[in-house]
Each structure stands twice: as structure tokens, then as C-alpha cells.
């Protein structure tokens, strides 16, 4: 689905992402794992065209030229949902359709489907983000990302602002949803356990580069470096 060739990101003198080659296959779940500052969020933002980069990014076999076309097929969810505080939950979700000229009826019908899918009712959708719980906000964020039925979902620590009980429930629902909908997923997490929960291929990052990619089993059995072994050991110990 995505192919990165020598994709790199610099902020002034800081190399946030070293030249990176990476492929994300169709319907694959890729987990970007690593300590803070390792470049995993930068890599995810690059996939959504949210940061200038050098190198070549290919999407569905075509080099990306117009980001708006790509974004139509993307859903992007960040911590706490990334909701706009001045819009109601429903308006937040509807915006994803309005951005591409959907008419009201189409948006309303789609919101009804998705509300059932994520378990929100009309009263909750009429509220402003500040009037919702963290879990509800995250569900609204997910609805917004799913509105256009995108091929790709990008999650940036989407569950980390939640309390453990809500997080576990939402993570379970999300895992089922991904399996059910058959999306290509890239997910940033700093927790090995979260990565294990979702399964899929892991790219472990450090210092702006991918130090090892593969299944978790691979990484545990054949760590490519001391860093990989230490990271996994530390995550499992604590």
C-alpha cells in the first residue's frame, strides 16, 4: 500500500527521520514501536503528508503528488481524538465528509451507521468534546476517521490518554473493527504490550531510524542489536 524509498525528514539541523526504506502491505497492521523521540510519530505524520520530507513515497503503486487525493483515503486518529473544541461531536464527524463535498443526507446516513458501530447515541453526538468522556471522545475521533470508509487508518498513540479499563475495552473493539473492516493500519505505540495485543508486523525505531522490522517473535528470538534486546527486556519486565 505504502512504499518509502529513502524518505527522510529534517527540522533544521535535527534529523527527525533518517533516510528510510519501508513497505506497508495492503490490509497489514504495522506497529511503530520505540522510545519517545525515536521518530515513530514523524514517520506516521510523513505517511499523512503532514510534514515535508525528501525521498519518494508511493501509495497504491503511484508516487504521491496531490496530498488531498491521498488524504481522502486516509483516516487519522491522535491521542484524545484530536477533536475541534468549537464543533459538536456530530459536526466534527461530518467535517470529514464536507471537506470532500458530500451532501447532508449522505453524511447523516453514514453517521448513523458509524454511531452504531462505535456505540454512541444521538444525544452524545450532540455534545461538544469538552462534555464527553475520554473514551467517548476517542470513539468520535474514530468515527471521524472512518466516515469516508478509508483504505488506510493511521493511529498515533490513540489509546494512551484513557484509563486502563476503558483502554482495554476500546482496544478490543478496535482490534475487532480492524479485522472486520479489512483496513491497512499503521499504529504508533510506545508499549510492547499494546503491540502484542494488536499483533502484526513491528518496526522498532530508535534515533530516527528503524532498527529492526518483523514479527514480535522474530524480534524476541533474533534481536538485531543490544538496543532491541534491551528494549524488549525492559518492556517485559515493567
Amino acid at each position: 500500500m505504502f512504499r518509502l524509498e529513502q524518505v527522510a525528514v529534517r527540522y533544521g539541523a535535527v534529523e527527525a527521520l533518517a533516510p528510510t526504506d519501508l513497505t506497508v502491505a495492503l490490509r497489514e497492521t504495522l506497529l511503530l514501536l520505540g522510545p519517545s523521540g525515536s521518530g515513530k510519530t514523524t514517520l506516521l505524520r510523513t505517511l499523512a503528508g503532514l510534514t515535508p520530507f525528501t525521498g519518494t513515497l508511493t501509495f497504491a503503486g503511484q508516487p504521491v503528488r496531490a496530498w488531498r487525493e491521498l488524504r481522502e483515503k486516509l483516516g487519522y486518529v491522535i491521542q484524545d481524538g484530536g477533536l475541534f473544541p468549537h464543533l459538536t461531536a456530530r459536526a466534527n464527524v461530518a467535517l470529514a465528509g464536507e471537506a470532500f463535498g458530500w451532501d447532508e443526507a449522505r453524511i447523516a446516513a453514514r453517521i448513523e451507521e458509524l454511531a452504531a458501530l462505535v456505540g454512541l447515541d444521538a444525544a452524545q453526538l450532540a455534545r461538544f468534546p469538552a462534555e464527553l468522556s475520554g473514551g467517548q471522545r476517542q470513539r468520535v475521533g474514530l468515527m471521524r476517521a472512518l466516515l469516508r470508509d478509508p483504505a488506510v487508518l493511521l493511529f498515533d498513540e490513540a489509546l494512551s490518554a484513557l484509563d486502563p479499563v476503558t483502554r482495554l475495552r476500546l482496544a478490543g473493539e478496535l482490534r475487532d473493527l480492524i479485522a472486520q473492516l479489512g483496513k491497512t493500519v499503521a499504529m504508533v505505540t510506545h508499549s510492547l504490550r499494546e503491540a502484542k495485543f494488536f499483533g502484526g508486523r513491528v518496526a522498532l525505531m530508535d534515533g530516527g531510524r528503524i532498527v529492526q522490522a518483523g514479527s514480535l517473535g522474530d524480534l524476541e528470538a533474533h534481536p538485531a542489536s543490544d538496543f532491541v534486546r534491551d528494549f524488549i527486556a525492559a518492556e517485559e519486565a515493567l
Binding site: L50, I78, G82, F84, H86, L95, E98, F128, P129
Partner: protein
């Protein structure tokens, strides 16, 4: 900008075909302005009087900018201030210099408003003093002079030299207090202007300047050479009709007896039956000034919003342009308001136009700065979310950024509006009307009641507008952003 100018023209040109008389913001100037207006009307030339337009420089610029057609001035002011660079030796040279600027002056009215020395009439008579030379025979006299007169090179030091008065003891005293000190016999001699109302009121004697030390400040009317010939003839007919004593009485009528300048002018023109036409009532005056004041603020503020909002948006988008825009609007804010009003006259004439322009310039900074701050203060994660949703730049600005910045932007507009209501009172100096007019007249006539007639409504209007913005914020700010 073009439509704004057109609108201003529409607002400001109430009397397109009448000749416009201007006058400075002091009593004698306003009386003479009224004299000119009435003289013109009696000659069949329609005339309006724009009274109390600040000082000489404002009137001079307004005359040359064709905002006014004529105003009363003094030959000394023309020679030593307005045309000082040309070092004009006499009246003939002055007339030639004026002609060189496309201007001309009427024949002198008959009095000179210049420095003089004055004594109590009874004291002068008892000592047999009639001229300044006579003072040299009385070194025992106590002389109290205004500080300015003591300090001026062409003041006391030169005068004492010319008349041999070095033996007299001199102390500095506030000019207004000097008359009271003279009256209480604490001093014997003070400096005065030859037409001060107090000279008549306190029964003072002006000592003759027998060695012609003081330069003449003869009152004349200055006009452009395209002035209506009938009007020129009417003004020339006034030559020699007002001497110092008469001007003193006219000043006293207004400053001490509470008569209007129009009544004084009618007396100057030879009518003794004062026409009993009362001015508009307090409520009518207030209504008219509120209309003028609101118009100034509303036009300036709307223009400022139209310009400042896009500037603030650009400033937030491009850091370097932003720094420049904020610096320039910041510098505009540091220009002293009085200076800005006056500097704009050669460009925009007098009246509402320069006032609106000045208020507009002062309103830019709060709006630009708050628009910039509101937009740059939005959490980057929200902008990422907006971009990832696929919103175009225009959609993002309209649907996300402006609503999120709205509370801050409104706060900037609110600041600008409240400042503009206060600053607009200064517009009276350049003839814009509004609440500043009674304040200006009140300062001139030392009338607290008149000052309050302008200051109280101005303060109330500022509070009202502040309150109005509370309501606007309540209505306009999205519910999710309210605390």
C-alpha cells in the same frame, strides 16, 4: 480604500457651495471667524464657520489644502512662525510672500494682539505713568512677569535693554495669577496681551510702547487668491473697524459675560440689538454629537477590521511578513495622536477624514496583533487533524482556525473600539465634531460644565461599547469554546 474615500467625501461635504471660514481654538479667533462669516453673509456670500480647529499650523495647512477658504490670522504669526524661514522684514514683503503661495490677506482689522505691559489704572494715573519709558523713573515698582516672557530672548531681557529698565526688580508669575496679584496690589506691572479680556474687566491701563519695541501682530484675514471677490470686498470693508479696546470688550463678552461668539460678532459689525436666537437644546446637541462621534468610530473601526483581519492572517501564515506587519503597526501606534491628526491635514484636509484615518491607523495594531496571536495559538495537533481530514487551506481557515481564534480576535476589536471612542474626542481639534467639541470649548472658556458635557458621554459610550462586545462575544463565540 477608494470606496472609503468616496464615503468620506459624502460625509464631509455638507456645504459644497458655501465659503468656509476657519478659526483657531481660542476665543478671539472664534469671534473673528464669526465676524467673517456674518460679514460674508451680509454681502450675499453663503458662508459656514468651522470653529476651534486647533492652532495656526492646522489652519494654515487647511487653507492651502482648500479645506477652508479664509481664516483670521496675525501678521506677526505669519512673519515669525508660518513664514519664518523667509525672514520677511515688513508687511509688504509679507504680502509678496503670501502671493507666492497663492494666498492673500485682507487689510488690517484695526488692532494688534501683541505683548504689552499693563498696570492698574488708578496706580498708573497716580504715578503719572502712560508709556513704558515712564517705568524707568520708578525703580521701586514690583514687576511680575509670566515665566515665558521672562525667558524669551525677545521678551523681558531685550525690552529692559531697549528701555533701560534693568533697575526694576522682576519675578516670574503664572499669567492667570498675575491679574489677580495686580488686582490685590501685590505687583504693580505685568505683561499682557493687548486684547486680553481681563484688561477691560480689571480696569487696567496698557502702557504705550513708545519706542515700538514689540512687533505688530495685526489681525487680518488670510484667504486663497481664488476667493470670491465679493467676499474679499466685504472683509476689506472691515478694515480699521475693530481697535484694541473694542476687541477687549468682545473678548470679555464671551469669556466673562457668557455671551456667544455670534453675539459678539454682531456687536462688532455694528448691530446692538442682540438677536435672541438660542442654540440647540442640550439633548439635541448630545444627539448630534453622538451621531458624529459614532460615525467616526464606526467608519474607522470597520475599515480597520477589513484591513487588519487579512493582515493578521498573512502575519500568522508567514513569519517574516508577520514580523514586518507587527512592527509597522506597532510603530504607527507610537505616533503621538495629536501629531498624527495634524500630519494628515495636508493629505486629507480637515474634518472627519483625517480623524477617521488616524483612528483607523490606531485600530490596526490591536486587531492585527490579536488575529495573529489567536491563529498562532492554535494547538498544532488540531491543525494536523484538520489537514489529515483533507480540508483545503481555505476550508481549514474558515471552519477551524478563524472560529478557534475568534475569542482572541474579538478581544482585539473590543480594545480597538474602546480606544477609538476615547481618541475620537481629539478629532474636534481638526474640526471633526463629536464629543471633543464641547471639551475643546470648555477648556477654552474654562467651563467645567461644557467639559463634562463632552467627557461624560464619551466615557459612557466607551462603557456601552465595552458592554456591547460582551454580548457580541456571547453570541458569536461557539459554545464549545466558552468557559
Amino acid at each position: 480604500m477608494k470606496w472609503l474615500c468616496a464615503l468620506l467625501l459624502l460625509v464631509c461635504t455638507g456645504h459644497a457651495n458655501a465659503e468656509t471660514v476657519g478659526s483657531k481654538a481660542f476665543t478671539e479667533g472664534v469671534i473673528l471667524g464669526e465676524v467673517a462669516k456674518q460679514a460674508l453673509e451680509r454681502a450675499g456670500v453663503p458662508a459656514t464657520h468651522r470653529r476651534e480647529l486647533g492652532g495656526s499650523r492646522i489652519l494654515w495647512d487647511a487653507l492651502r489644502a482648500k479645506s477652508i477658504d479664509v481664516y483670521p490670522e496675525y501678521t506677526g504669526t505669519l512673519r515669525f512662525e508660518l513664514l519664518a524661514a523667509q525672514h520677511l522684514p515688513d508687511g509688504a514683503a509679507l504680502a509678496r510672500a503670501l502671493a507666492g503661495q497663492g494666498l492673500a490677506m485682507s487689510r488690517p482689522l484695526g488692532f494688534s494682539d501683541s505683548y504689552a505691559l499693563a498696570m492698574r489704572g488708578d496706580r498708573a494715573q497716580a504715578l503719572g505713568i502712560a508709556t513704558i519709558s515712564d517705568l524707568a523713573r520708578h525703580p521701586e515698582l514690583a514687576v511680575g512677569l509670566s515665566n515665558e516672557f521672562v525667558d524669551r530672548k525677545d521678551g523681558w531681557p531685550a525690552l529692559a535693554g531697549a528701555y533701560g529698565l534693568a533697575a526694576l526688580k522682576v519675578r516670574g508669575i503664572d499669567h492667570d495669577l498675575a491679574y489677580r496679584a495686580l488686582n490685590a496690589r501685590q505687583i504693580d506691572v505685568t505683561d499682557a496681551y493687548t486684547t486680553d479680556a481681563e484688561i477691560a474687566a480689571y480696569g487696567l491701563t496698557v502702557l504705550a510702547d513708545d519706542r515700538a519695541f514689540f512687533p505688530h501682530y495685526d489681525a487680518v484675514f488670510v484667504y486663497r487668491r481664488d476667493f470670491d471677490p465679493r467676499a474679499v470686498a466685504a472683509l476689506d470693508r472691515l478694515a480699521g473697524t475693530i481697535d484694541e479696546a473694542k476687541m477687549r470688550r468682545l473678548n470679555a463678552m464671551v469669556r466673562m459675560d457668557g455671551k456667544t461668539e455670534a453675539e459678539a460678532a454682531r456687536l462688532a459689525l455694528g448691530d446692538d440689538a442682540p438677536a435672541a436666537r438660542a442654540g440647540p437644546s442640550l439633548s439635541k446637541r448630545l444627539l448630534e454629537r453622538t451621531r458624529e462621534h459614532l460615525l467616526l468610530v464606526a467608519l474607522a473601526l470597520s475599515a480597520a477590521i477589513i484591513v487588519a483581519l487579512p493582515l493578521g492572517i498573512i502575519a500568522a501564515r508567514r513569519r517574516r511578513v508577520g514580523a514586518l506587519v507587527l512592527a509597522v503597526t506597532g510603530i504607527l501606534q507610537t505616533i503621538p495622536s495629536l501629531a498624527l491628526f495634524v500630519v494628515l491635514i495636508p493629505l486629507l484636509g480637515i474634518g472627519a477624514a483625517p480623524t477617521i484615518a488616524a483612528l483607523f491607523l490606531y485600530s490596526l495594531l490591536p486587531i492585527v496583533r490579536n488575529t495573529h496571536a489567536g491563529l498562532t495559538g492554535i494547538a498544532p495537533a488540531l491543525l494536523d487533524s484538520a489537514d489529515a481530514l483533507g480540508l483545503t487551506r481555505a476550508q481549514r481557515l474558515r471552519r477551524i482556525e478563524l472560529p478557534l481564534a475568534l475569542p482572541t480576535i474579538l478581544a482585539g476589536v473590543r480594545t480597538a473600539a474602546v480606544i477609538a471612542v476615547g481618541l475620537a474626542t481629539l478629532g474636534a481639534i481638526v474640526g471633526a465634531g463629536g464629543y471633543g467639541q464641547p471639551i475643546l470649548t470648555g477648556i477654552r472658556l474654562n467651563s467645567t460644565a461644557l467639559i463634562l458635557e463632552g467627557a461624560v458621554p464619551a466615557a459612557l459610550l466607551a462603557l456601552l461599547i465595552d458592554g456591547l462586545f460582551t454580548l457580541i462575544e456571547r453570541a458569536a463565540v461557539p459554545k464549545g469554546l466558552r468557559r
